[in-house]
């Protein structure tokens, strides 16, 4: 004699079942399971030093972005505030400590690039 077993399911479980059925019927489930396995494998294969090196690169990019963004904003503001400087005005600008700091940074940057060429 067979017995009918009735499983009570919550509304959420029924919805989930309908969605899963659709994924299975359309054959998409195989790809999704492959994707989950791939993500899981990648987590397993990643190590702390890898994360730290990766994030170090992101940090370098963010730092470069921050410095550039600040400098561009500053330059834009100063250029709007002041008239286009004369030759003498440019020389005066060179007298400013921050200008010289920035300029020597740019020259060292050029040197750094040169070293790699």
């Amino acid at each position: 004699m067979s017995e009918k077993v009735e499983v009570l399911k919550t509304k959420e479980m029924q919805e989930l079942e309908a969605k899963m059925t659709m994924l299975i019927q359309t054959g998409r489930i195989d790809n999704l399971i492959d994707l989950m396995a791939l993500v899981s494998d990648n987590i397993e294969m990643t190590t702390s030093p890898m994360v730290e090196k990766m994030i170090g690169t992101v940090d370098n990019l963010a730092t470069a972005g921050f410095i550039t963004e600040n400098a561009v904003r500053y330059a834009k503001r100063e250029s709007t505030k002041n008239e286009v400087p004369s030759l003498f005005g440019i020389l005066k600008l060179m007298g400013d400590k921050d200008t010289r700091k920035g300029l020597s940074f740019m020259l060292n940057l050029t040197k750094g690039i040169g070293k790699q060429l």
Partner: protein, 396 residues
């Protein structure tokens, strides 16, 4: 007249707030109507949670230090000055050098500091990972110990319902310690005893300051063979006998005492006369929604120096900073505040050397503990080594 915003303290809170303010007030800065100045007593910025990793030899420490100037947008004036006095009637802060900084709006963000001297014997015989020097000392001890007992103690402020710095840190480091000693192959010969005081904010006789986490900790500790005990409020240490004595009258011997010592606000705040905290602890009376110092309409505070019941953590500051910045911007533009802090804290706890547990809570909801994961640990380590600096710069 140009409005002056002064921020005191170049840590997590001060740096984030200065950058967020500069971003929000850029039109006013462009029109030369607003000036933002940050003063700090150090040329350097320390990412404090890094000290935890130093204690277990997983970092050297220098990775967590940057030039403060390099973290600030160029619109912000930065000066290395130690604030010593605040005059809220005439609206100025005086520095040790004698220099006076006037303000229209003031943000107090000088954090908190360890105060081990408040427990007799603790400075001589105890250790803590809350400073880089302390963590370096501990790293050597953790590396050398072959057998014995490592005792974990936690002290809370005497002012009611205020946490110590980074509430989850004692749990994190206890679990990191277990992993570290296992890695070293000496765990079987070393007993780890985690203790917690009788009163921990709203929880009594628990293992954590929030009920749900306190309830799950015994089974987690049991599974790792970590002994645990509540009702141990460290009140005295006998450095000669290496015995920790509790206010409840119990004595526990130790080989290493890894303590969460008492904390206070910094000296400058304690001596300001603004605080009403017990035992000269100095926490600033803070409006839990606007984040203004109570009774001072143009003074804001955030971070570790407040008297709010939320964690003294970077994951708290990250949610407070925009409230402060928005409110100041709104007051400048419209004359009223526009934002309100809901007590949100978001963090990823380092539950062992390679497991991370995301957590969040606010004034109304406690942390719902979830299992930690390897992925969680990667996110945490990514935050430590890179994302933090972007967050400090106001980029995330």
């Amino acid at each position: 007249m140009k409005k002056k915003i002064l921020i005191v303290g170049g840590g997590t809170a001060g740096t984030m707030t200065a950058n967020n303010l500069a971003k929000k007030l850029m039109p006013e800065i462009d029109r030369d109507e607003v000036e933002i100045t940050l003063i700090s007593d150090s040329k350097y910025h320390y990412y404090k949670p890094g000290a935890m990793y130093v204690a277990f030899g997983k970092s050297e420490g220098y990775e967590f230090v940057r030039d403060q100037r390099a973290l600030l947008m160029s619109e912000i004036n930065f000066e290395v000055e130690k604030a010593t006095q605040i005059n809220t009637k005439s609206n100025f802060v005086k520095a040790q050098s004698g220099k006076k900084f006037e303000y229209d709006f003031l943000v107090l963000a000088t954090g908190c500091e360890v105060a081990p001297d408040r427990i007799p014997g603790l400075s001589e015989a105890g250790d803590w990972f809350y400073t880089y020097e302390g963590a370096t000392k501990l790293a050597k001890k953790f590396h050398d110990i072959k057998r014995g007992r490592i005792l974990v103690t936690v002290n809370f402020p005497k002012t009611p319902n205020i946490p110590h710095q980074c509430g989850i840190a004692p749990v994190e480091t206890t679990m990191m310690l277990h992993d570290f000693l296992t890695e070293r192959g000496v765990r079987d010969d070393i007993e780890i005893v985690y203790t917690y005081p009788t009163v921990a904010q709203a929880v009594t006789n628990g293992l954590f300051m929030q009920e749900p986490t306190s309830n799950v900790l015994p089974s987690i500790f049991d599974s790792l063979g970590i002994k645990h005990q509540s009702g141990f409020t460290l009140s005295k240490v006998d450095p000669k006998k290496k015995v920790a004595i509790s206010a409840e009258g119990e004595e526990i011997e130790f080989d290493i005492l890894m303590s969460t010592p008492p904390f206070t606000a910094t000296k400058f705040i304690r001596e300001s006369g603004i605080s009403e905290a017990l035992d000269d602890e100095g926490w600033l009376p803070t409006d839990k929604q606007t984040l203004k110092v109570k009774g001072l309409d143009n003074v804001y505070t955030l971070g570790d120096t407040v008297d709010l019941p939320v964690s003294k953590a970077g994951g708290t500051v990250h949610n407070q900073t925009d409230v402060v910045a928005d409110n100041i911007a709104s007051e400048l533009r419209h004359g009223y505040t526009s934002e309100s802090y809901d007590g949100l804290v978001i963090a990823i706890a380092q539950m062992g050397l390679s497991c991370g547990m995301p957590l969040w809570y606010n004034y109304d909801k406690d942390v719902a503990p979830t299992p930690c994961s390897k992925l969680g640990s990667f996110v945490r380590k990514g935050f430590n080594k890179g994302i933090y600096w972007a967050a400090a710069r106001g980029m995330v």
